[in-house]
């Protein structure tokens, strides 16, 4: 059993996360987009930003990842593991010390303030998790937010069976382990979204390579391209995972290392009875608009 209060104390003890710098300084184009989306007609936001926008400046972007020391992410992972797999935000109280001027560059830190539970709620049994974020310009605190979520086990769920992601389209980002994506790997995840299993192919010498990288180890070229795999191969090795729980998975489950017909190996969850040499084909499962995961299912011999 996971001792949630002890884990919470451990995270709280770490104190403030390291300052995370906003991607862009406070800027007029983003202010205009925000005003338009919110429907705010106030003409005064030409030199300063609407205070309620404060959170926008430090959002992670489309492919953002929580930083490793982010206390909310860490606490969510623990509660996920304990079976409290759903989330709903309940409170967000913000305090603004002053207007933010265009050109100012924000950073944000976060601490875990409180974890209370288990509480019985209309949604199911859960824990209230409160974090406190502080935004800074340089060393000056300019805004604060106390943010509270309820992490809960949906009513009717057995205590030890986290829900499969497919059955929960509103699953929060912490529910599955998300890949980190960068310039070198974006083509692969873009391919998955389009239903294509892409293998990096060197634009210089044609070397096929997975996992990919920016420079060909054979010829030194830095112009990687890709081919679209047929998505078929054989199981080279596999694992049946029993313990511990894995976010977004229901144990036991199989992970297979597949040797694709094109010659490279790739990992993925396998649906079906595993054995070395078993033929498999790729399937794509949409997690949300940003993420589609490739996995394998057994299929007949060629």
């Amino acid at each position: 059993m996971i001792d949630i209060e002890k884990e919470a104390a451990r995270i709280a003890e770490r104190g403030e996360s390291a300052p995370r710098l906003a991607r862009d300084p406070v800027n007029l184009p983003m202010i205009n987009n925000w005003l338009e989306a919110i429907g705010d007609q106030h003409p005064g936001y030409t030199e300063v930003a609407p205070p309620a926008m404060v959170q926008v400046w430090t959002m992670g972007g489309l492919h953002g990842q929580r930083s490793a020391d982010d206390p909310l992410g860490a606490m969510m992972a623990i509660l996920d593991e304990a079976g409290y797999t759903s989330v709903v935000a309940t409170n967000s109280d913000q305090t603004y010390h002053r207007y933010l001027k265009i050109g100012e560059h924000l950073s944000v830190t976060s601490t875990l303030e409180d974890v209370t539970g288990p509480k019985r709620t209309g949604l199911g049994e859960g824990w209230f998790v409160t974090t406190r974020s502080t935004w800074y310009v340089g060393d000056e605190p300019v805004a604060e937010m106390r943010f509270r979520v309820l992490k809960f086990r949906p009513a009717g769920q057995p205590a030890s069976a986290p829900e499969a992601p497919a059955a929960q389209p509103e699953a929060p980002k912490t529910h599955v382990i998300r890949p980190s994506v960068n310039r070198d790997t974006e083509y692969f995840w873009e391919g998955c979204r389009q239903g294509e299993l892409r293998i990096q192919r060197c634009g210089g010498c044609g070397l096929l390579r997975h996992p990919p990288g920016p420079m060909c180890p054979e010829c030194g070229a830095t112009k990687p391209k890709y081919l679209v795999s047929d998505g078929r191969g054989v199981v080279y090795s596999y694992v049946v995972h029993h313990h511990p729980q894995v976010p977004g998975k229901q144990t036991p489950f199989v992970i297979a290392l597949v040797e694709l017909d094109e010659g490279v190996r790739m990992l993925g969850e396998l649906d079906g009875e595993p054995s070395i040499g078993q033929r498999v084909e790729v399937v794509f499962t949409k997690v949300d608009d940003e993420l589609t995961m490739p996995s394998w299912r057994t299929c007949a011999d060629r």
Binding site: I177, P211, S237, P252, I276
Partner: protein, 379 residues
Amino acid sequence: MNAAIVGIGATDFSKNSGRSELQLAAEAVRAALDDAGLTPSDVDGLVSFTMDTNAEIAVARELGIPELTFFSRVHYGGGAACATVQQAAMAVETGAAKVVVCYRAFNERSGHRFGQVQTAAAANIDNSWSYPMGLGTPAAMVAMFARRYMHEYGATSEDFGRVAVLDRKHAATNPHAWFHNRPITLEDHQNSRWIAEPLHLLDCCQETDGGVALVVTSRERARDLPNKPAHVKAATQGSSVDQFTMTSYYRDDLTGLPEMGVVARGLWERSGIGPSDVDVAVLYDHFTPFVLVQLEELGFCGKGEAKDFVASGALELDGALPLNPHGGQLGEAYLHGMNGIAEGVRQVRGTAVNQVGDVEHVLVTAGTGVPTSGLVLAR
């Protein structure tokens, strides 16, 4: 090399230390200095693991070490263990420092548990090809190798289990071991629950709270100190082609640990000894299958022959190659390989609880499945 380990120190090994990781580090370092007959003011170098949460300066503050001229960290988890001693020995040889302490301390059971899925680790690009697919624990990552190894060489779960039985047998007579007085049978191993097939619970090392420290100085200085020194005859790191951390699945072959092959070549070349000259082997044993693979990579037996080598009894205390007399990380404690180096020192001194007779050379290895390191310690 012109360096020797002259002091070893450790805290108790527990599941809940009840104190901070910094306190564990400070206690281990102080114990090692006491053992060496040195004081904090003699120390001018500190080395640890990148993964250790205890900054060199924090350890220095607690110990009252006034000045440091050398401080260094080594990457890749347990692969760093023997490399901390290599760093220290190089510092001593080059004059960068005179007395260097290597340390590792953590609350790895009561605090941050390595056996759990580290969701934050998926932020690493390399891990994005494994963690999101559900392969997120060290046990599962090793199990992927183990399954292929079994397929290629006909090894069985029992073959892995014999390593666990042996470690626990040795731990049973080591009062400092967590599993003191608690040996297991092969049947216990087979009946233990699945963690990640083909690995059972008893194929997996413990999670431990504790700290270990080692004091390294020159051979000349060692002569004036109270304990018999364990000379660092050879030390090396090893990384090999298409290397990943725990998931080097994309090489031609999945049945070896070529990075340990690099370590083996380096150690034999630099020490001038070979496998048959090793009196005690302290092999990294976070998961049993990699002990078999190490025996092959280090040249104690041929490829695929480790299962027969293990079954022959060669690894018993009175066998040809006594293995992990302290009980290893399966039996004594999981201190990321550092407790194994301390055992190597005791075997050279002749002060181990399960002492092997007339030890001239001890081989010690570090983490497997990761870029790693190794040591030959000598009388």
